[in-house]
Symmetry: C2
C-alpha cells in the first residue's frame, strides 16, 4: 500500500512514523518547494504547483493514479481545505483523503465561523469579532475588556497575532481585511492530538500541556490527562465526526476549557503523543485495511512525559549559490 503526504514541508519525522507503521509499501511526499526537507526523507517525492494554483488538485490526482496511492494525508490547513472539496473525485478512484468533510474544514479554517459553530454547540470559546464598532460597543458596555487579541481570520500558527492593550492599539492594528478580534483568555494552554475515523463514538485523544511556544509553535510540552480538556475535546469530536487527525488548542480558565484553534491535520507537536503510544499513522493504515478497532476511550498513556523540540538539518548539493 502506498501513502502520499502532501505539503510535507519540514515534517521529515512524519515520514518516519508512516514508514514504521507496518504494511506500508511506500511513503511518498509532495511539496511545491525543493527546499522542503521532508521530501528527501520519503521513498519518492513529487514537486507540485502551489495549493492555490488551479492545476494543484489535478496534479495530485495524477500522482495518486500513476503511483497506486491508496491514501492522501494533507499536512497544511489550506491543503486540507482544497482537497476536502474534492473528496468524491478521489473516492471514485479508490483514494481516501484523511481530512474532515469540507464543511468541517471550512469551520476550522475560518476563525469566525469556528466561533459561531462552537457557540451554537455550547462549547466555550473566546468572544470573537469581525466588526470594529461592535468591539468598541461591547467595551463601552463593559461586556469586553483589554487586553484583546488581534489575529488573521484564516491564518495558520500565530500569523499576524497582536496583543492589544488599549483603544490606541485597537485603532492602529485594526484592518477590515482578514482580521478578527478576540477576548484574551488568560489561562493554561493545552494541545490535543485527536484521531477520529468517521464514527461519532470512536476516537483517540492525547493531551499535552504547553510549556513553551515559539513563533506560534509548541516547542516544549508535557503529557497530561486534564479532565476539563478531555471533556471539551470529546464534546467537540462528537459534534464534528471526522476522518483523520485533528489538532486542537484549548485554554483552561475558571474551570472552563475554551477552544482557541482547531487544525484539521497532524499538529506540530504530534510527536509527543506518538512517543507515548498514539501511533495515528498505524491506525490510519489499519483503517485502510479494514482492521480498525474500537479505541479505548480512556486516557491510557503516561503523564508527565516531556517533549523538547530542537533543530536537525538536511543537506543536498543543489544548483543554487
Amino acid at each position: 500500500m502506498n501513502i502520499l503526504l502532501t505539503s510535507i514541508g519540514i515534517r521529515s519525522y512524519l515520514v518516519d512514523y508512516f514508514k514504521s507503521s507496518g504494511k506500508v509499501s511506500n511513503v511518498f511526499s509532495a511539496d511545491n518547494s525543493s527546499l522542503a526537507p521532508g521530501i528527501y526523507n520519503s521513498d519518492k517525492y513529487f514537486l507540485v504547483p502551489k495549493i492555490d494554483d488551479v492545476a494543484y488538485v489535478t496534479n495530485i490526482l495524477d500522482i495518486c493514479v500513476n503511483n497506486s496511492v491508496s491514501a492522501l494525508i494533507p499536512l497544511h490547513d489550506l491543503d486540507s481545505l482544497v482537497l476536502s472539496r474534492e473528496k468524491l473525485r478521489f473516492q471514485d478512484l479508490g483514494i481516501k483523503i484523511f481530512t474532515p468533510e469540507n464543511e468541517v474544514v471550512e469551520i476550522c479554517f475560518d476563525k469566525y465561523k469556528c466561533y459561531e459553530f462552537l457557540r451554537s454547540h455550547n462549547i466555550p470559546v473566546p468572544k470573537t469579532y469581525i466588526d470594529l464598532q461592535k468591539v468598541k460597543q461591547d467595551i463601552n458596555e463593559g461586556l469586553l475588556s483589554f487586553p484583546l487579541i488581534l489575529k488573521s481570520r484564516t491564518g495558520s500558527a500565530s500569523k499576524g497575532l497582536q496583543k492589544l492593550e488599549n483603544v490606541d492599539d485597537l485603532n492602529y492594528f485594526w484592518s477590515e481585511k482578514d482580521t478578527i478580534i478576540q477576548e484574551l483568555i488568560d489561562g493554561v494552554e493545552y494541545g490535543v492530538d485527536a484521531l477520529q475515523l468517521n464514527s461519532k463514538d470512536n476516537y483517540k485523544v492525547y493531551i499535552k500541556k504547553k510549556l513553551w511556544m515559539r513563533a506560534g509553535e509548541t516547542d516544549k510540552a508535557v503529557t497530561s490527562k486534564n479532565k476539563i480538556v478531555y471533556s471539551t475535546i470529546c464534546q467537540l469530536l462528537e459534534q464534528l465526526v471526522i476522518l483523520g487527525p485533528l489538532d486542537v488548542d484549548i485554554v483552561i480558565k475558571d474551570n472552563l476549557g475554551y477552544i482557541i484553534d482547531i487544525n484539521p491535520r497532524f499538529g506540530g507537536g504530534y510527536s509527543l503523543s506518538h512517543e507515548v503510544g498514539a501511533n495515528f499513522p498505524k491506525e490510519i493504515i489499519k483503517s485502510l485495511l479494514n482492521e480498525s478497532r474500537l479505541f479505548d476511550s480512556n486516557l491510557k498513556y503516561d503523564e508527565g512525559v516531556i517533549m523538547m523540540k530542537h533543530p536537525q538539518f538536511t543537506f543536498f548539493k543543489g544548483g543554487l549559490s
Copy 2:
C-alpha cells in the same frame, strides 16, 4: 580533555560536533533549564543559575574546577558578555573561554556601539539612530527614508523587530528604552561563520546565502563564496582579532556589504559550514593542544550546498504534568 558548552539550549547537534572532534574526553553542558534538550545529549550536564544571577560566574567556575574543564564555549550573547568580563579569573586556573575580549563582545551586544565601531573603521553599516528627533530631522532633510527598521538595541534574533512604513508607525513603535532605528538595506542577505584564534591574519571563513528566515533564524541557506561578503568579513576580522567563533550577517546592496549583526558565538546556521568542512570544534580542540595551524585563507569548500532545518525531538519522563 573536557569541554563545557554553556547556555546549550536547543543546540544538541553542537554536542555531537564536539564529541566527534577527536581528543575530547567529555563534552559537558550547562543551562538554567532542565527543558533545554541539548543537556540530555552531553556526557554530563549542570543546571546553573540564570546568566544575570550574581552567582552565575562562580557557579560555572566551580563546575570547571571540579570537573577538570579545559575550555568553555558560551553559546548565548549575554553569556559571552558576562563570561568575557571574567576571562582572567578563568585563565588563572588554566581555563580558556572561547569568546572575544570583553570590549569586542560589548560592541557585538550593543547595536549602536557596533554601528559606531563599524563606521569608524569604514565598514559599511546601515545608518543607526538612538534619538527619535535625529531620525525625523534626517528624514526631513532627505538623508533617510522609509521603510525603516526598529529593533531592540541589545536583543538577540529578531527580538522586537518592526518594519516602519511611515511617520505614524515611527511614533507608534518608538520607545526610549533599548530601541534603535535603522535604515533598511534592501538587498541579499548572507551569513558568515568565522573562527579566529587570537591572530590578526589567521582565520577561517564560511559564507552562506540565506534562503529562508523564520523568527529571526536561518532555516534554509546555501553555501556561497561571494567576494564582497568575503572582503567585508576579512576587513572586520582584521580589526577585531578574537578568540573563538563569530556569526556575522551581511546584506549586499549596490556592491557594498553592509554588516547588520555580529554575534560573538556559534551561529544558529553553523551546521551548513560544518557540513562542508568547517569543523570549528576540531580547530578549537587543536588550538588547546597547541596543534593549531595557519588556516588556508582561500574559500576552499563546495558552493551550492543547501541546508534545510527541520524539527527533531528529545523526550524525558519528568515530574511535571
